[in-house]
């Protein structure tokens, strides 16, 4: 029997490179200190805990909440989200996010599979508006950071484990353990559910999903190339469980381009919006 040829998907290479760059403060491995340089002024377009000693850049959601805590409008961060969203939409979730990569890996574990009901994908908008927005403004506390599973994974657990003096361990309380419970829940549910956290809770994904229909990079499907009845390969391999055939630019699409590479009929394509100014013959007629 022939063995299946294995290859690394391009978006996986992007995730690995992005993880190395965003978590590239390697001296922290022996010093344990948080990076305090000029790169921290820049946000990365993904969920990236700035409390992590390895982190070189700032977290956009942490920054957003910080400005809300100060009762200031976050012009820089809103503009940053807007530019990234306008350019690529949710593509950064598929190509750059280390927490997304972790969920992709977890989903490879063989187990029963569970398809999420569509209404659960709207929870992330409530998380964005209520938890990271309204509550942060009113109470002046970064409530999303207090629950963020990426934060406990990248910053909380490594710092508590590496703590030799016991100063950090002394601060471990109900908040730490509640975050641990949430992280465990997210990890456990990422095994049977494709990208559980991204689809249900991630506020970064919620922001970019608003741009998916208008972003410069988008997907298109040539339905005439699809064989009848449709083969369904694109839907089966989609990490976000979306109906690629009917609407390839849904809010949940992370543009991992798996459907583009694996379509047997080369019917799914990635395009850039081009202005169509030329008057066609029909218009002249």
């Amino acid at each position: 029997m022939k063995r299946k040829k294995r290859h690394i998907a391009p978006h996986r290479i992007g995730q690995i490179i992005a993880s190395i760059i965003t978590l590239g403060h390697f001296p922290a491995l022996w010093t344990g200190d948080v990076y305090q340089g000029p790169l921290k002024a820049a946000c990365v377009p993904i969920l990236n805990c700035w409390g992590c000693p390895l982190s070189l850049f700032s977290c956009p959601i942490g920054g957003l909440q910080h400005f809300f805590n100060l009762h200031l409008f976050p012009f820089y961060i809103v503009g940053f989200f807007g530019i990234v969203g306008m350019l690529v939409g949710r593509m950064v979730c598929g190509w750059l996010c280390p927490f997304g990569m972790l969920q992709d890996i977890l989903y490879k574990i063989k187990s029963f599979r569970w398809k999420l009901p569509v209404w659960t994908t709207y929870i992330k908008y409530a998380v964005l508006v209520i938890v990271a927005g309204v509550l942060a403004w009113i109470t002046r506390e970064p409530w999303f950071c207090k629950a963020c599973p990426a934060g406990i994974l990248e910053a909380g657990i490594p710092l508590v484990l590496a703590d030799k003096g016991g100063d950090i361990r002394a601060l471990v309380g109900w908040l730490f353990w509640s975050k641990m419970v949430f992280l465990t829940l997210v990890v456990a549910l990422s095994i049977p559910v494709k990208r559980f956290f991204c689809r249900v809770f991630c506020p970064v994904g919620a922001i970019y999903s608003l741009f998916n229909r208008f972003s410069l990079v988008h997907l298109s499907i040539e339905k005439e190339k699809c064989k009848s009845p449709k083969c369904g390969v694109c839907e089966a391999i989609c990490p976000m469980d979306i109906n690629v055939y009917d609407n390839p630019n849904q809010k949940e699409c992370i543009r991992c381009l798996e459907c583009v590479y694996k379509c047997p009929n080369i019917a799914v394509n990635m395009n850039f919006y081009k202005p169509r100014i030329k008057i066609t013959e029909t218009e002249n007629a």
Binding site: C43, G63, F75, Y76, G151, I152, L159, L175, M180, L216
Partner: protein, 70 residues
């Protein structure tokens, strides 16, 4: 009569095509407009000191992120 119907259908198709084309053009204008707004927002934020503020808050150990309490 049949000819008149054909003309009507053709004119309807032509109108629909025009609407579609105009909508596409409108989307492009919206994209350009919002892109300018967002770029201006980043520049204005940088002038207000958002970058310095982000750098200073990102350089301290965030207890909330780590799930620690004082």
């Amino acid at each position: 009569m049949k000819e008149k119907n054909n003309v009507d259908i053709r004119s309807l198709m032509f109108t629909l095509e025009r609407i579609e084309k105009n909508l596409e053009r409108l989307i492009h204008y919206v994209i350009v407009f919002f892109s300018v707004i967002f770029i201006a927002s980043v520049i204005y934020g940088a002038l207000l000191g958002d970058l310095i503020e982000t750098e200073s808050v990102g350089s301290v150990m965030c207890l909330s992120c780590m799930g620690l309490q004082q």
